[in-house]
């Protein structure tokens, strides 16, 4: 099939503005009379805020106001559950925002932020999801879940006993991955103001303008129609701009002061404030016959959701679905968990849970191949999905499964020693 569109080169319309430096990112917009807001974040992973004393900060010339949890009409937000405070009274991770200072200039706001005294009662924190899963550890979100297990996805297929009986070779290993930050190049920035209609206008870079609008409206107690979110150029996101970040706080400040409010994260603040890729602990037991056919897989995947749910359910669901890789395995038992801890919260990031399990299932394939005495390519050729294959979740693949073509193409490189360059 020939088409004039598919396969042809098109020039991005927005590229011209970008090569001349004309494109407006949120840090590049300003309004006369704007003030600057800076967030005060918790240095503790788990704590109660006992009190906030902003007297000293307020006495600094040029400080407009300091807002805390009690100033937020509905103090919660979140993509799946509203389990995350706008300004925290109860801290579940390092970097939770507890107060925000508004001042005439950014320098004054930053200086004032250092003068706000927050008194905390520091609570014991848990950083290991396997420990957090045990009933002895108190739940971080008792209103949401009775334990720290936010989500469990079991997948069962075939008969495990039969599977292991057929296995001549079994490889059992543990794998783990770490937190990863999106590190999109443009740190979060917002300009929020109340316009001539009395509507809240929030200019920002977001992956999710309509959701931001709902969350701002909810937190501030406004109607949807009273909030407008304008997305400016987005300087990279990769999943890290799905959860709302500074938008509500800036809008809150604008509502209290009736002044335009500008906020810009430093790179360090950016690292503290947005989601991370889920670290995963993956226990894999894979069995194959001596001629290299996969017969059984048992996998347990524990994803560290960190302090808030964000997209963890969807992410760990995807991990479960992808846990067997692109391979036909008749007997499968997979358990995937998302677990709350006091680590930075984890959310969406390119691959959305499918990336981590690759490490486990592909390593297992290599180890099996070595033990059986066939090449890594050969073991994949003997097991990969084709049209008509059934996946671990029972889905029958009816079309577009060109893995054989892909493997055929890279085979010469693999045979030369695995260097695809």
């Amino acid at each position: 099939m020939k088409s004039s569109v598919i396969g042809s080169r098109v020039v991005r319309e927005d590229a011209w503005g970008k090569v001349f430096g004309q494109t407006k990112f949120p840090a590049d917009v300003n309004l006369p009379g704007q003030i600057y807001a800076v967030v005060i974040r918790s240095p503790h992973p788990h704590a109660k805020v006992l009190g906030i004393n902003s007297e000293k900060a307020m006495s600094l010339e040029g400080v407009v106001t300091v807002l805390t949890a009690k100033d937020v009409p509905n103090n919660s937000h979140g993509v799946l559950f509203r389990d995350q405070p706008v300004l925290a009274e109860y801290v579940r991770m390092v970097g939770d925002p507890v107060a925000v200072v508004g001042a005439e200039t950014e320098e004054i706001a930053r200086a004032a932020a250092k003068l706000v005294v927050v008194e905390y009662e520091v609570l014991p924190a848990v950083f290991d999801p396997e420990e957090a899963m045990t009933p002895a550890v108190l739940p971080l979100h008792p209103n949401l879940r009775p334990t720290n297990v936010l989500y469990h996805m079991p997948i069962r297929r075939g008969n495990m006993e039969e599977g292991w009986a057929k296995a001549d070779i079994v490889i059992e290993k543990e794998y783990s991955t770490q937190h990863v930050d999106h590190a999109f190049l443009q740190p979060e920035a917002v300009l929020a103001y109340v316009d001539e209609r009395g509507h809240m206008v929030v200019q920002t870079a977001t992956q999710y303008a309509h959701y931001d609008r709902g969350e701002i409206a909810h937190a501030l107690g406004l109607r949807f129609s009273q909030v407008q979110v304008k997305t400016l150029a987005v300087g990279g996101a990769f999943g890290g701009r799905e959860d709302i970040s500074l938008q509500i706080i800036a809008a809150l400040m604008a509502r209290y002061t009736l002044r335009p409010v500008k906020m810009e994260n430093t790179r360090e603040e950016s690292f503290y404030s947005h989601s991370k890729r889920h670290p995963m602990k993956m226990y894999y037991k894979t069995g194959a016959t001596k001629d290299g056919k996969l017969v059984a897989l048992e996998a347990k995947i524990i994803g560290d959701a960190g302090a808030y749910a964000s997209w963890s359910i969807n992410v760990l669901r995807k991990s479960a679905v992808h846990a067997s890789g692109p391979y036909v395995i008749p007997n499968v038992s997979i358990d995937s968990y998302a677990v709350f801890t006091n680590n930075p919260y984890a959310g969406a990031m390119r691959g959305f849970g499918a990336a981590q399990t690759v490490l486990a299932y592909e390593s297992q394939m290599d180890l099996l191949a070595r033990k059986i005495g066939i090449s890594p390519l050969e073991i994949r050729l003997r097991n990969h999905f084709k049209v008509g294959s059934t996946t671990a979740t029972g889905q029958v693949l009816t079309g577009s499964v060109p893995l054989d073509q892909c493997l055929a193409k890279i085979a010469p490189y693999l045979e030369r020693g695995g260097d695809s360059q």
Partner: protein, 155 residues
């Protein structure tokens, strides 16, 4: 406040700046040259790259006062829609631009290389661009665009 004199994009300016004020702040806030971007504020990303006296520098690490007496080129001083610089043209045509936040810095590093070296090798291009991070493209198209711009420019 200190008085400084500098030439930016061929225009002379006299500015009063704070001693601790960075060049990036003076360019963005005092001159309204918002094409210079701040990605890290600590010399790691190169989004704030400007050309100062013929050399690329990170404007987040230079004090405005240090630029006293200097000649500076920012992205606003390179090309325009009617006559884009070969680097800008190649970036657009090759698809070296995604989110675009790194692009001004990238264009300035590439332009500065071609100003000094009409026929850079691939290694020289790699070194010249090594102080600029891009989180979107994976660099391949950026390096290709610089190469194409060099070939265009050398014609």
């Amino acid at each position: 406040m200190i008085e400084i004199n500098l030439v930016v994009n061929e225009k002379p300016y006299t500015l009063n700046v704070e001693p601790s004020e960075r060049l990036i702040d003076a360019l963005r806030n005092r001159l309204g040259l918002l094409g210079t971007k701040e990605g890290c504020g600590e010399g790691e990303c190169g989004a704030c790259t400007v050309i100062m006296d013929g050399k690329t520098v990170n404007s987040c690490l230079v004090l405005a006062a240090q630029a006293n007496g200097s000649v500076i080129t920012t992205i606003e001083g390179v090309g325009n829609r009617r006559s884009p610089h070969p680097v800008q043209k190649a970036f657009v045509e090759v698809g070296a631009v995604q989110c675009g936040f790194c692009t001004p810095g990238m264009v300035l590093s590439a332009k500065n290389l071609l100003d000094r070296n009409l026929k850079p090798s691939e290694t020289e291009i790699g070194i010249a661009m090594s102080g600029n991070l891009c989180r979107c493209t994976g660099y391949d198209k950026i390096l290709r665009a610089v190469k194409i711009a060099a070939e265009e420019g050398a014609k």
